[in-house]
């Protein structure tokens, strides 16, 4: 269904919305319309104003200027309750679910069906009501299962069911596929198609170009708080869209620069198996090359990384780093120059409330301060060197890491290991949650690392990234390596063919 095919006034419309924060103009005269049965993509780099716009729409922020129209009639939205009245619901990235309540209790939280006595909840009533809501989105699950037993994708389904049970006509989704596997993403897309048919409007914020084009009926691009265009996916190509987003013509395909001949073998994994579910893993990584580790989510990539790093016990085989067998502890691995940059920077890689400088020196304390006494000046010096080397955009070495953008946080994690003199890096999904511009910069950084003689093993769910960045790649399926692709065989099609379940 195309946008032009729906007659009459839009279901909801924002006109001329402006919003200031101290020192920042977050939104400047932005207009946006939502039509029933339409998926409206909202794209833009981090900080472009997408989230602010959505918060204005759902009443979390009050606009400084602008007007709202519901089915052509002017309305006001000043608080969340107003937005809910018009059927606007937001599926946040951070779910609003209670882990030890069951699915039904979560769906009806705050709107429980009253039982026979005051205060009592009609449990049977909410379970059958929940079942009906779940049926409408085609999610077949027992509503009595507590939410903490569900996977991320299932939790998202519950979140969506919760919104629909409140008669949501407009669903706002903020990067809903960020934490989903390919298969779960397909389920989500199928559900979105179903919602569209039922006349639900969907506003969809995304960083992934592929899904923008696969799902969107219309694409609105924001840049620096301004709307730079509303385009139709059938008339616009990915390159044009990215050019709109970044305001300059960017080569999204990041031409892989020439690399030096690969050097000595840095990592050698022989017949490794582990209780975490991987078996017969054989791989090598040489100095000066980036080796990809691909496969579907759940195929065992992260488990391989953890086994190599010594974070998980191995039950078979051996791992050699610079020719020497390592003993399977993280202390040993890091001491010998290995670094693991985990998928979840926030919980595993960074102390967000501490300064950029503190984070950078954290992994190299023993090298910087062999006597065990912390010398602030030396720490700042070392941190500054890394900040310059990686061009981390931070106003000061003392700024808290949590205030930096995703791309710069990622650089701080890398800087931390550079400071520790790491020579072999494992990157687990290095570009997750990072916008297009920062991605290219992270790739340049990886390239610089290998140019300086480091070796890199890179895990990524996005085949395009593996193809663009890596010299070679291994493909995993069900805990085993099912193939190795040399540079001339490294195509998305080959990765997908090898990695798919049969």
């Amino acid at each position: 269904m195309s946008a032009e095919g729906v007659p009459g006034p839009p279901l909801f419309e924002l006109r001329g919305i402006s919003k200031h924060f101290p020192g920042v103009k977050a939104l400047d005269d932005v207009s946006f319309e939502i039509r029933a049965g339409e998926v409206h993509m909202l794209v833009g780099e981090n900080g472009a104003g997408k989230s602010t716009l959505m918060k204005v729409l759902c009443g979390a922020y009050r606009a400084d200027r602008g007007a709202f129209f519901h089915r052509g009639e002017e309305v006001t939205i000043g608080e969340p309750l107003d937005a809910r009245k018009f059927g606007i619901a937001v599926i946040f990235q951070e779910f609003t679910l209670v882990p030890y309540l069951d699915i039904a209790q979560n769906i009806f939280l705050g709107r429980e069906i009253r039982g026979p006595l005051p205060g009592l909840v009609d449990q049977r009533g909410i379970h059958s009501a929940a079942k009906r809501v779940l049926d409408t989105i085609g999610f077949d699950i027992d509503p009595r299962i507590p939410v903490h037993r569900l996977g991320v994708a299932q939790q998202q389904m519950v979140e969506i069911a919760k919104a629909l049970s409140q008669d949501a006509r407009i669903l706002v989704m903020d990067e809903p596929t960020a934490a989903l596997s390919d298969r779960e993403t397909e389920l989500l897309f199928a559900m979105i198609a179903r919602l569209k048919q039922n006349g639900v409007a969907i506003v969809y914020i995304s960083h992934r170009l592929a899904e923008v084009f696969a799902l969107g009926d219309r694409i609105t691009v924001l840049r620096d708080g301004r709307k730079v265009g509303s385009v139709s996916p059938s008339e616009t190509g990915p390159d044009q869209l990215v050019a709109l987003m970044v305001g300059r013509s960017v080569d999204t395909t990041y031409a892989r620069p020439a690399r030096p001949q690969a050097g000595e073998v840095v990592l050698e994994v022989k017949d490794v198996g582990a209780p975490s579910g991987i078996a017969d893993i054989n791989l090598t990584v040489r100095a000066g090359e980036i080796v990809g580790l691909s496969g579907l989510v759940g195929s065992g990539r992260t488990e391989v990384a953890r086994a190599i790093f010594g974070a998980d016990r191995i039950s078979a085989g051996e791992i050699r780093l610079f020719g020497e067998r390592i003993d399977g502890s993280t202390q040993d691995s890091t001491r010998r120059g290995m670094a693991l940059i985990p998928e979840n920077r926030k919980s595993q890689g960074l102390a967000l409330a501490r300064s950029v400088g503190d984070n950078i020196v954290l992994a190299g304390l023993r090298r910087l301060f062999p006597t065990g006494i912390f010398l602030p000046r030396r720490a700042v010096q070392a941190a500054r060197a890394v900040i310059d080397q990686l061009r981390i955009a931070t106003p000061s070495v003392h700024r808290a890491v949590g205030t930096l953008s995703g791309g710069n946080q990622q650089k701080v994690v890398i800087g931390k290991w550079l400071n520790a003199r790491a020579r072999f890096f494992i990157f687990d999904e290095p570009t997750r949650g990072i916008d297009v511009g920062a991605k290219a910069e992270i790739f340049r950084l990886l390239d610089k690392l290998v140019h300086d003689g480091a070796a890199i093993l890179m895990i990524s769910s996005e085949q395009t990234e593996i193809v663009r960045v890596c010299d070679r790649a291994y493909v995993m399926r069900s805990g085993r390596i099912v193939g190795e692709l040399a540079r001339d065989q490294l195509t998305e099609a080959n990765i997908v063919t090898l990695g798919m379940h049969r």
Binding site: T96, L97, L120
Partner: protein
């Protein structure tokens, strides 16, 4: 939903047998078997009834403590509030001769401290550990002030009938405790109040978005704690036939231990009321058994600490994949 065993998926995944039994139940069984062998006096009907009766005061505290801990809170003042309410009860019943007035006064004292705790935690946003540490000091100080450090004696003889009396052959304290357990169970698993307790610890933001007052909920939870401390004071005064300004010292420790032993987590609103009941019994059995074996009370405190660690260790072992 009533506790963890009611979940079908859980049953399906865990192999039958020992692995399904929570740590606290194993600990309780082992303790009973051990004391049964070590002491001839343990496994007698009289002693078992004794254990149950003696556990009632602790249960009255551990029930609200479970709810408070589920909200990621804590009430360190419970033992001291119990003491203070007991003194208020004793003094009032001596002054007025009226049981009803004295009970109201004791419940009022408990509720007042519950309200203060709730306000400190919700409105002033003081961490529960600090807030209730403060009210612990205040309640304890008031108790010493009112009594000048002496026991309050001379309460009417008939009061001890509350502790020693029976209804249909069942000791009155057990009837009170069973009633309190049933009420708390319904409160936690069948009411909106209970649903929101899971949410307070599990995802406060979800509660706010649903339009529920987080402050109001927190105040109610601590009020419930104060109310139950008031009822517990009634049983304790009747048991001692007097009120003493140090009688309830450390009871919050036993209550927190019973909750922890029972498998309630201090995070994410993961609580289990029946586990608390088993935890209270485990503490009761341990104290009773050690008494029979003439172990000094200082060593008993240490053994309760060990009990917490052992029970949680067993649970931890089994949560491994």
């Amino acid at each position: 939903m009533s506790g963890r065993t009611a979940v079908p998926t859980f049953l399906a995944r865990v192999p039958a047998g020992l692995a399904r039994v929570p740590g606290v139940a194993l600990v309780l069984i082992v303790l009973c078997a051990g004391f049964g062998v070590a002491s001839a006096g343990f496994a007698t009907p009289t002693n078992i009834a004794n254990i149950l009766v003696q556990s009632t005061i602790l249960l009255l505290l551990a029930l609200p403590m479970t709810l408070i801990i589920m909200t990621e809170g804590l009430d360190l003042s419970m033992g001291a509030v119990l003491t203070f309410a007991s003194i208020v009860f004793a003094v009032s019943v001596i002054a007025t001769g009226s049981f009803a007035l004295a009970l109201l006064a004791a419940l009022g004292a408990g509720l007042a401290f519950g309200l203060v705790n709730g306000l400190l935690v919700s409105v002033l946003d003081i961490p529960p550990f600090i807030a209730t540490l403060g009210t612990l000091g205040i309640a304890q100080g008031l108790s010493l002030l009112v009594t000048d450090g002496q026991s309050v004696v001379g309460i009417p003889r008939w009061i001890d009938g509350i502790y020693s009396g029976r209804i249909a052959g069942i000791p009155l304290p057990i009837v009170v405790a069973a009633f309190a357990y049933a009420v708390t169970h319904v409160l936690l698993y069948r009411t909106r109040f209970g649903t929101y307790i899971f949410a307070l610890g599990g995802n406060r933001e979800a509660l706010k978005i649903a339009g529920i007052s987080v402050r109001g909920m927190l105040i109610k939870v601590y009020l419930f704690g104060g109310l139950m401390a008031g009822f517990a004071a009634l049983l304790m005064t009747a048991r001692l036939n007097s009120a003493h300004p140090t009688a309830g010292i450390g009871m919050e420790f036993d209550a927190i231990a019973a909750v922890a032993v029972g498998g309630t987590s201090f995070e994410r609103g993961n609580g289990w009321l029946f586990g608390t009941l088993l935890g209270v019994l485990a503490v009761g059995v341990l104290r009773n058994g050690l008494n029979l074996l003439a172990v000094p009370s200082s060593a008993q405190v240490a053994s309760i600490g060990a009990l917490v660690i052992v029970a949680l260790f067993i649970d931890g072992l089994r949560s491994e994949p």
